[in-house]
């Protein structure tokens, strides 16, 4: 006996599984990414940043706006596409997978001398964050003040002689000349 409704159900299930698998193999989806990321790798003078990834995903037209050629629909930059036109999703897509916390390690300085390497002029993590974030914030009228994104820590206030370490109007040796 042939049960048409059962066969239909099975076919539909298989088709859905197939579709789901092909999508997940094809590309990382925005919904796969975390909604919020705590950026704390370089927090010292400023508090860690609670980065609203979901909000920025909605704002950016494509993941590649921030993630260059590592995820999304690939790069549109003609310089990058010379090597990365044959787009493929990379395994690791977080900023610090490429941009190192120690911007001027012996390795990074050595890389600057390798002229056959296109990424000889690679930014460190702090530079990458601020150039990518701040550049876009300036264009999109986002927050651009230091403490609009991260509050100063006690160490930060000490460094800047601000907050509770601010100089009294009478004290301070800086003549600023």
């Amino acid at each position: 006996m042939f049960d048409a409704s059962k066969w239909h159900m099975k076919a539909l299930l298989l088709l859905m599984m197939g579709l789901f698998m092909s999508v997940s193999v094809y590309a990382m989806d925005a919904s796969d990414a975390p909604d919020s990321i705590t950026i704390d790798a370089i927090a010292q003078y400023y508090e860690p940043v609670e980065f609203d990834h979901a909000m920025h995903t909605e704002l950016a037209e494509d993941c590649s706006v921030c993630h260059h050629h590592s995820t999304g629909n690939g790069t549109s930059d003609i310089y990058c596409s010379r090597c990365h036109s044959d787009y493929k999703e990379l395994d690791r897509v977080s900023c610090q997978d490429c941009h190192s916390v120690d911007s001027f390690s012996a390795e990074a300085i050595n890389r600057q001398g390798q002229q056959d390497l296109f990424h000889a002029d690679m930014l460190g993590l702090k530079g990458a964050y601020h150039q990518n974030c701040l550049g876009c914030h300036q264009e999109m009228d986002g927050p651009v003040g230091c403490e609009d994104c991260h509050a100063k820590t006690d160490a930060g206030e000490k460094l800047f002689d601000s907050g509770k370490y601010a100089p009294e109007p009478s004290e301070g040796g800086g003549s600023h000349h």
């Binding site: 460094l159 800047f160 601000s162 800086g174 600023h176």
Partner: protein, 310 residues
Amino acid sequence: MSKVSRRKFLAGSLAGGAAVVAAPAKKALAAGNFSGFPDGMGVLVDLTRCVGCRSCEAACNKEQNLPKPAVPFDDTSVFDLTFHHGTQKRRPDENAYTVVNRYEPEGMDKPTYRKMQCMHCNEPSCLTSCFVKAYTKTDEGAVVYDEHVCVGCRTCMVACPHNIPAYAYSKVINPVVKKCIFCYDTRVSQGKPPACVDICPAQVMTFGKRKDLLKLAKARIKRNPEKYQTEIYGEETVGGSAWMYISGAPLDEVGCDTSLPKEPIISNVKGFLGVVPMVLSIWPALFTGFHLLATKNKDHHDSHHAEGEE
């Protein structure tokens, strides 16, 4: 002895003297082409990246144990300060080895901020002008000084084309010259970037070997010709320096002195100074020789004459 042989001797000695004159002068001129130590470090400052946060000033202050500032380092009102009837912006002094200034170049929609500090020249005029040899150009590229031998003559302040060395006028006892030392003692001598470079949030400054940085600078300009000016300030300016600037705005509109010559300042006097030791050592010997020859002849003549009379 015939007169001819004496003439030959004189001619020979003159030719020899001329050769000695020519040799050191030529050598001195050739030495003017020193372009830094091969593995000397440097810093490339990209003015298109700076947002004027003054973190570099704060980091310098703490690293070098400088006095507490008059206003907090996150106060940007200092950009409005001018001196000498508005003709001069802030300059590094004994209390601040680096300062950031704001410029508003014509036709640019954003201001340009420029940090200034010692350029750490390849052929520093402060070093060559110092008569107690207080200054040293290290293998790493830093221009450092020994304040224990500084006598406070301030010749280096006059000699510096970038107006960097400052004087500790506020010190009553033993005032000395003060300037940026590339964080040599605490960082650069150990291969670490200076404090200002380390703290900069936007990586305005790139620390590396000077020769590599020049290539990076040229690559950045080539890749973005509409964003950058073609000149690299410090590549050849007064013989080149460890610190170099690239800019989106014309360099002379952001406080760089583009009227400075390509030749190091010492080139102006090197030819002359190269001759001084020669004049002091060769000339006395040469002219004493002439004098002896002349008087010897005279004595001989006199004695011969006397013999004749006898």
